[in-house]
Amino acid sequence: MNRALDEAMSRRVPALYWVRARLFSTWTSSLATLAVLYFSLKIIPPLIDWAFVRAVWSPQNASLCRESIGQGACWAFVADKYRFILFGTFPADQHWRPALVIAVLIALYALSTLRGVRGSRLVTLWLTGMAAIGVLMWGGLFGLIYVENERWGGLTLTLLLATFGIACAFPLSILLALGRRSDMPLVRWLCISYIELIRGVPLISVLFMASVMLPLFLPAGVSIDKLLRAQLAMILFAAAYLAEVVRGGLQAIPRQQEEAAQALGLTYWQRTRYVILPQALRISIPPLVNTFIGFFKDTSLVVIIGLFDFLTTIKVSLTEPAWTGFGVEAYLFAAIGYFLFCCPMSRYSQALERQNAPGRGVPMLREN
């Protein structure tokens, strides 16, 4: 509605009319505009003063931070700890490796949005990318020194947890979604109870399960390290949510498609592979991106089981005597970090949705 009005206005009438129509159309609207302006004037200048003008930027003068508490922000904290926040405890002389991994991951995301990269090309791209990431992170090949995964951390770990989590959960979720629609009662029943159970409980309980309960279920002598356990929990969790997205796509395919494929004599797996899934997955892309955003944000929960991801490294840096008491700045920085990744993805899924269903402008809903 607003956009149509805007367009009509901008074509025909000068700015003053726009101001009247969009800021002072009725007395309630005028009141709202004035209230917003009043509060902006009261809040924004002191905020700019705190965040920029009086802020302390250089890590050399941490003592200056203490003196200006309440007057200026202490960005020196970020300047001092940024390597730890980006790369965790990865050996300092090898920091180019996780830095390259972050670049590769961002490039992979960006390439995946291209129209030409679909289907088998997309799969090849990701498999190559993930192999390269594995080599860069672990090393041990091509003269790179070996780095055990206890030393991975920071933003790199957050990106890896989210990316590998979704990549592994996706095939599993397709099986779950197909299983949920299966004619075999046992399969259907198992898939439904799995999906509903996982979706009914908080992620923390699944993470706790992986960190304290999983070791009990393994034979004596076998142990899985903490990172892998958390990653496993994230995969199992994401699979249940993705399965519902894929099911949404499957349900949108008309029955006739299935029947036509059957009439051609294709087997169940052939029908699924060549007829149903390609269509269903294409419809599911925007909600899949949304699920990925939710999942990306959810990786921050590993702070509770003590994995050194982006958020945990920030939290841990705050416990250093020099930087205690600067939580506001630190978490503001964390928020900006997550926002920089989530916002473009959110814009991308909105753009896709608009392409698929132009016109009404009813927004697609995000679950989390």
């Binding site: 609207s29 009914g200 309980s205 929960l301 978490y331 997550y338 927004p363």
Partner: protein
Amino acid sequence: MAVTVGIAAWYFISNAVENLLTRRIASGFGFLTREAGFEIGETTILAYDAADTYLKSLAVGLLNTLRVAALAIVFSTLLGVLMGFSRLSLNWLLAKIAAGYVEVMRNVPLVVQLFFWYAVITESLPAPAEALSPVPGVFLSNRGFAFPILAAGTPIKLDYPVLSGFNFSGGALLSPEFAALLLGLTLYTAAFIAEIVRAGILSVDRGQFEAAYSLGLNQPQVMRLVILPQALRVIVPPISSQYLNCTKNSSLAVAIGYPDLVSIANTTINQTGQAIEGIAIIMIVYLTISLAISGFMNWYNRRFALRGIKP
């Protein structure tokens, strides 16, 4: 298929039994009647001290979960509806502010927001002696929020918080943990509700607006009599799943030290080593809450659904 599932289940269970035996961990829910031995910072209806049983400590945790979730659901619905309407407002400033709010809240993880609000309350607010008082009788300090409540008795009067020693007494005091959790949960959930409300209203065909206006109804009437009854059918199902999310998200309390169910179950697991039982309790409780909320929302939805059309 059935055989494979059976074998896998048997394998894991036999491993678990063996591990529990070698680690000398008891099994079963007998521990619930034993003495818990830890204090809980925040109790509401149930009185509790360290000499009480694990069962009672978990009940206190559950009540804390329900308290924060219920309040967050109420406040986030109010704020979410306000923001949803603001986004559709003809007023450009309101629409932009609401859009910015939704975008920021949805794209920052809730845990980060909780840490942020907790830091704001405990680091940026002054000590109780210099507490901020935006409204007379309400005090914001680094020890939490104090505000007047209705005191029991006749005649009914307000009980005001007063500064005594290092903190406030009288009135109601929200701990920093509770205040941060409620604030974070409310602001976060409200952003999702705002989008649901906006989508619901936009889903009503434009012809409905035009027809209603041409009947001579004014704007509030159009909304109340024509648009909202239709929009609610679209709004209620996703909003009920947001209420579920809100309840599940309240489990992030453990990150800032508010004693909710998950936090207390976690302490219980650490003390007794009975991880399987502890996690089973968490899961059963959340599943029950999920079923209860979705049952209630289904009943509510049936009242709004079109007769003769299956949702």
